[in-house]
């Protein structure tokens, strides 16, 4: 437990130092979202229609960006070796790293999303559901992503592989997440989608850290 906190503190500290980790995701999110109108055109009706899709795809890409750097730096400078060698079980440390990754990439997106939603004038409930959906969805993205990151660690052309592996797995999250918001916009209830998201999250929470650790051990020896 203590070790988890230590790891989280460490990763957050690192993220603060090389700001990139936190901000990359965030700014990428903002910028992607604000670029689309420039590409597509300013009709509010049209924009409002595609807003959930854009916001979710942007969030998804933003999370994916950070993934390749989830384990790579620690691998490069030998920290990962030291983790394997450390007496505390690797699983805990990995869990810690995943949590830290969500705090640095997922959480900011959740907090920022409503502001961007306003630009596409989504109304209050739509924004509310958007936040809830992201709260359920982003941890899911981090968890699934971690597996991919571990599997592609130190592999030539890991970057591509990573997106190839991870994105198909992201599709359900995307569909339910965006779906939830669209439901609200078109005046229906989003509970169905949200509960599905929650279910996915539960499964991933149980499954992903374990898979990630296994993958890492393979990557390291």
């Amino acid at each position: 437990m203590n070790a988890i906190l230590a790891i989280i503190r460490r990763d957050l500290l690192l993220a603060m130092r090389r700001k990139s980790e936190v901000l990359t995701a965030l700014f990428f999110f903002i910028i992607v979202v604000s670029l689309f109108p420039l590409g597509i055109g300013p009709e509010p009706a049209l924009l409002k229609k595609i807003a959930p899709g854009i916001l979710w795809v942007a969030a998804l890409l933003a999370t994916m960006l950070g993934l390749s750097r989830l384990f790579a730096p620690d691998h490069a400078d030998g920290t990962l070796e030291q983790m394997v060698l450390s007496p505390t079980p690797l699983g805990l440390l990995i869990a810690g790293k995943i949590i830290a990754h969500w705090i640095t990439t997922g959480l900011p997106l959740v907090l920022l999303a409503p502001v961007l939603g306003i630009q596409f004038d989504l109304d209050a409930d739509a924004l509310g559901i958007l936040v809830v959906a992201l709260l359920l969805g982003t941890p899911l993205l981090s968890l699934i992503g971690a597996i991919g990151a571990a599997l592609t660690l130190g592999v030539r052309g890991g970057g591509v592989l990573l997106s190839l592996l991870v994105l198909p797995l992201y599709v359900p999250t995307l569909i339910f997440g965006a779906g939830a918001v669209e439901m609200v916009i078109s005046g229906m209830s989003a509970t169905g989608h949200l509960s599905l998201l929650a279910a996915l999250l539960a499964v991933a929470l149980f499954f992903a850290p374990w898979a990630t650790t296994a993958a890492l051990r393979i990557a390291l020896e």
Binding site: P37, L38, G41, P42, E43, P44, L46, L47, Q119, D121
Partner: protein, 251 residues
């Protein structure tokens, strides 16, 4: 002759001699700012009549437009200082550019904010992808970029030069961006919200706007001078002239 002109230009360009000069100027600009602000506010709330189409809501214009103007104007000034810095590498120029950026960013933010608060009642939406709005947003991004870049570089000299290049590239782009966004917007005309232009403004309104603009101007100058003084101290901390400053000596 011209030669020693350059000399004494450089004399003022040196932080050491500019520091006290700025110190003397600041109070003046503050008083001017105060006067204009009071006058401007008085006109904008008590003299300017209610607008025919927009009711009282239009009074936002009295800060919105000056803020918008300043945001654009300051970026040019910043780029100019940066350019001088690259060309003559005078230490002061970089500091000036660095001092201007935050104020400019705040002005850009104000134009966005007040604009949004104007847009809600006028267009029923906080934000529409109108040319002016969008380019204002991009200008804001440019400011943030400049500030972030300088903040991220440890070595002050390098920060100045890098910032200068960025500012110059930016200032070349700003018109292109504005023009392109306008083009983009007109391309989609009709479909997009018809932004009903304010009717030819009453002269009193115009005066109010201009005086408020002056107020913003004075405010910006005063503030930049204050900030540049701080920056000078930070950068020159280890020089003797700073150590001998009365405010450092007298404790």
């Amino acid at each position: 002759m011209s030669n020693n002109k350059i000399i004494n230009w450089f004399k003022f360009a040196s932080p050491q001699s500019f520091y006290p000069l700025a110190g003397k100027m600041i109070p003046w600009f503050w008083t001017l700012a105060a006067i204009f602000t009071i006058a401007g506010l008085w006109i904008s709330f008590f003299v300017a009549p209610t607008d025919a189409t927009q009711g009282e809501g239009y009074r936002i214009i009295f800060i919105h437009v000056p803020a918008a103007w300043m945001s654009m104007f300051l970026y040019c000034v910043m780029a100019a200082w940066a350019g001088i810095g690259l060309a003559l590498n005078t230490r002061l120029s970089g500091m000036m550019a660095q001092a201007i950026a935050p104020t400019g960013a705040i002005m850009a933010f104000l134009s966005l904010w007040t604009g949004a608060f104007w847009g809600k009642p006028m267009w029923g939406a906080w934000w529409v992808w109108d040319a002016r709005l969008t380019s204002a947003l991009i200008l804001f991004f440019l400011y943030i970029g400049f500030i972030a870049l300088q903040a991220a570089i440890d070595d002050a000299r390098r920060a100045d030069k890098a910032g200068a290049i960025l500012a110059l590239v930016g200032v070349v782009n700003v018109p292109i961006i504005y023009f392109s966004v306008k083009w983009w917007n007109t391309l989609h005309q009709g479909a997009s919200v018809a932004i009903n232009k304010a009717p030819a403004m009453a002269t009193t309104m115009l005066w109010g706007m201009l005086i408020m603009a002056l107020a913003f101007w004075m405010y910006a100058i005063a503030l930049v001078l204050m900030r540049v003084r701080a920056i000078i101290l930070e950068r020159e901390a280890h020089t003797d002239w700073v150590k001998d400053l009365p405010e450092v000596k007298g404790n």
